[in-house]
């Protein structure tokens, strides 16, 4: 199995301060890696750096061998990476429909706006609402739909279940499972361990900007004590 994403020696942070301190991570093609860790561990920083939304101080980010570190986000996006950002970041002044339309690439992809509506009918009902006239959960659905429309090879999911009702989490999980089966890779940052374990092939735990654990999901689940220690729960 080849690695789709290879990150090595990544240093990044804000205003000169360092958050990621020489981080290495690989995501094999067709697999889902769950990225876990306490608040402030640096998960979002990592995801943003891969996406090109934050310029790393140093290090390498390779997608299928192509160096992306330092490339602007639109270039990263065009090489097949899509993000469901933390905090949703839907476009407030645009309608649901417009939010989706501007995400859809001009050429045909596997996803269409109609298919997103089918997946999340709630969005179809609210298609004429502006982004900021949606409930929190509806915004999260929109953010997921927007990323799917990009038809990515690599999905960066930063807490996609945040704010979703349990039933919807279920639906989303099903979709992601199907995508995984279709060969899409993903980095899944999650606090909902049910969802993380259900989707991930491997679990990576971050703490203070470093990776402190990496292993198959089943192995991670087998040691409750270690897992609790890693995640900071007594």
């Amino acid at each position: 199995m080849t690695d789709l994403l290879t990150v090595s020696g990544l240093h990044a942070g804000y205003a000169g301060g360092t958050v990621l301190d020489g981080l290495d991570l690989t995501v094999p093609a067709g697999s889902v890696v769950a990225l876990l860790g306490r608040n402030g561990a640096g998960k979002t920083t990592f995801v943003h750096t891969v996406m090109g939304m934050l310029r790393p101080y140093s290090g390498s980010v390779r997608l299928a061998g192509r160096e992306l570190a330092g490339a602007p986000a639109h270039a990263v996006a065009r090489s097949g990476v899509a993000i469901v950002p933390q905090g949703r970041r839907v476009f407030a002044p645009l309608t649901v429909e417009e939010n989706l339309r501007i995400a859809a690439p001009r050429r045909d992809g596997p996803w269409t706006v109609e298919r997103v509506y089918e997946l999340m009918p709630r969005l179809a009902e609210r298609r004429a609402n502006r982004g900021d006239q949606l409930s929190g959960g509806e915004q999260q659905m929109l953010a997921i739909g927007r990323a799917l429309l990009r038809g990515p090879r690599l999905l960066l999911l930063d807490e996609p279940s945040d704010g979703l009702a349990p039933a919807v989490v279920d639906q989303v999980a099903e979709v992601l499972e199907r995508l995984r089966d279709d060969g899409i890779s993903a980095v899944l940052v999650e606090q909902d361990l049910h969802l993380a374990f259900r989707l991930a092939d491997e679990v990576v735990v971050m703490s203070k900007g470093r990776i402190v654990h990496r292993g198959p999901t089943a192995e991670f689940r087998s040691d409750r004590r270690r897992a609790h220690a890693l995640l900071g729960v007594a």
Binding site: N39, A165, P166
Partner: protein, 258 residues
Amino acid sequence: MTPVLELRGLTRSYGSLTAVDHVDLTVAKGERHALIGPNGAGKSTLFATVAGTLRATSGRVLLNGRDVTALPESERARRGLLRTYQHSSLFLGCTVLDNVALAVQRVQRVAHRFDRPARGFRRTQTRALEHLESVGLAGRAHDMASALSHGERRQLEVAMVLAAEPAVVMFDEPTAGMSAAETERFVTLLEGLPRTLTVVIVEHDLDVVFRLADRVTVLHLGAVLASGPPAAIRSDEAVRAAYLGAARTEDLFTGGAR
């Protein structure tokens, strides 16, 4: 049992959409009341209408038996009715400490004093630090709020609202974005709060809901679908269909003792 918060036929529409539809709800003093429901059910809208951020289309809000429907948001807050935001709403250009101190100094009635530097108001500073301590942010007191991660902001949001010494506090998905450890701390914090304080909480994390709540109300399409003790709600078929979906009962971890 004295009702501290009563909603009578509370309704709020956005144009043709009635997001909150004739909701009647009574919350007793000291109660831990959970509000759950599918996305878009109207939970946040309900909170905003009760808090006074949004005007009610019709219906009334009673706080300690007094009608507060006509009062602006700040007046309701002064009477102890406060809420947190689903999307953190912080003072991003201020320090973490200042965020909490803003709440504290209002309660201590020194918010408009300008005869001494703020540092000189010891009581305010210590109180604010205590609140930060309680959510685990004391170490970041002097960082800018904008430098907090998403989950840290959620914690600050909690500290801020508690620092405003509410009589009734409405938490809108407080643990969304908090890690397991932080969620645990939040639940412990809530459990430790005195029973003079009334809590209404919206949550999608059912573990939290069922651990904390005395009573649970389910909102669906803006209206109350069911209301009752947690056990009754958990087994309610309608609730299951509208909200819970496939129950996730399996144990997360397969090995080791708990």
